[in-house]
Amino acid sequence: MDRIRIDGIKLSGELALVRLASHPRPQFALSCGCGIMAANRINMPFVSAACVGDGARASWCVEMEERARAKALLDGNPDLEGYAEIVPSVGLVSLFPHRSSIAFLGRALQALGKAALPVHGLTSSLAPLTFVTDYALLEEAAAALEVFFALPPHQRPIRTHVQVAQSPIRKDEGPDGNGSGPS
């Protein structure tokens, strides 16, 4: 079997996955939850919205150290209280470019499935196809993907070591904290 040639595999730092899966108004929950994260300047390095039946069901990742604050903010909103589920210690493994190929997605799922690795979520963007798995299994996930995907010669998966944070909300910015902090 020929391996699919790719430009790279990227591994994230340790994150927490936030789900609002069982909310009765999923589209509202997605919009409300994302609004709360943005207003409080909690970065979301991964966002996935799956259309299932009556609407979009959302999940997203936050930095591990932000998970308690994210949970408290979501539970503190009367419309979302009790719906936020946090999966701690997850990581992202991204392979790129996917070239909008269904075969690419199938091969990646086959690779992770064959290695019995958990997939908590997945999404695609312009270039990468990204899976959420257990943080402790990220290297194993990369190795499983390399069975089916060929990196350029002498290249290893890239591990993110730069963490991006937003500055605290200033008092003069108003109650929604709407401003463009440094990224």
Binding site: S125, L126, A127, P128, I158, R159, V162, G181
Partner: protein, 128 residues
């Protein structure tokens, strides 16, 4: 066949590399890609681009180090370097101060989020 010169795009964000590459290719530029500083040097040596669009914060070797190495190497110092800088740095010069006190001199810079039209103006001025 294009007469435009090769551009190397370097960033650890594959989406950004793809978006910039698509824009450059739509204007007829041949493009090479790299996703960290070590790969960037490999591409520079293999393909000798006319211009490098270089992110600053990258794994393995950061953009400052790569820029220093390009500008201090007599074989490569003529390669144009355009640094991609984060908004919070509010940079108004191409001379940057490292944490360790070393300065880097790039040829130009563009802040993130990137204005692709502005980036094309910069690229055209050096590489068309």
């Amino acid at each position: 066949m294009t007469d435009k010169q090769l551009i190397l795009v370097v960033d650890d964000d594959p989406d950004l590399v793809e978006a910039v590459s698509m824009k450059l290719e739509s204007k007829g530029y041949p493009v090479a890609k790299a996703f960290d500083g070590v790969q960037a040097w490999d591409r520079i040596k293999e393909e000798r681009p006319k211009l490098v669009i270089l992110d600053v914060m990258m794994p393995n070797k950061n953009g400052y180090q790569v820029c220093d190495e390009i500008k201090q190497d007599p074989d490569y110092k003529d390669i144009t370097v355009v640094l991609l800088t984060a908004v919070g740095e509010a940079v108004t010069t191409t001379r940057y101060m490292h944490r360790d006190g070393i300065t880097t001199l790039a040829d130009d810079f563009i802040p993130k989020p990137i204005d692709l039209d502005k980036l094309m103006e910069i690229v055209d001025s050096y590489a068309s």
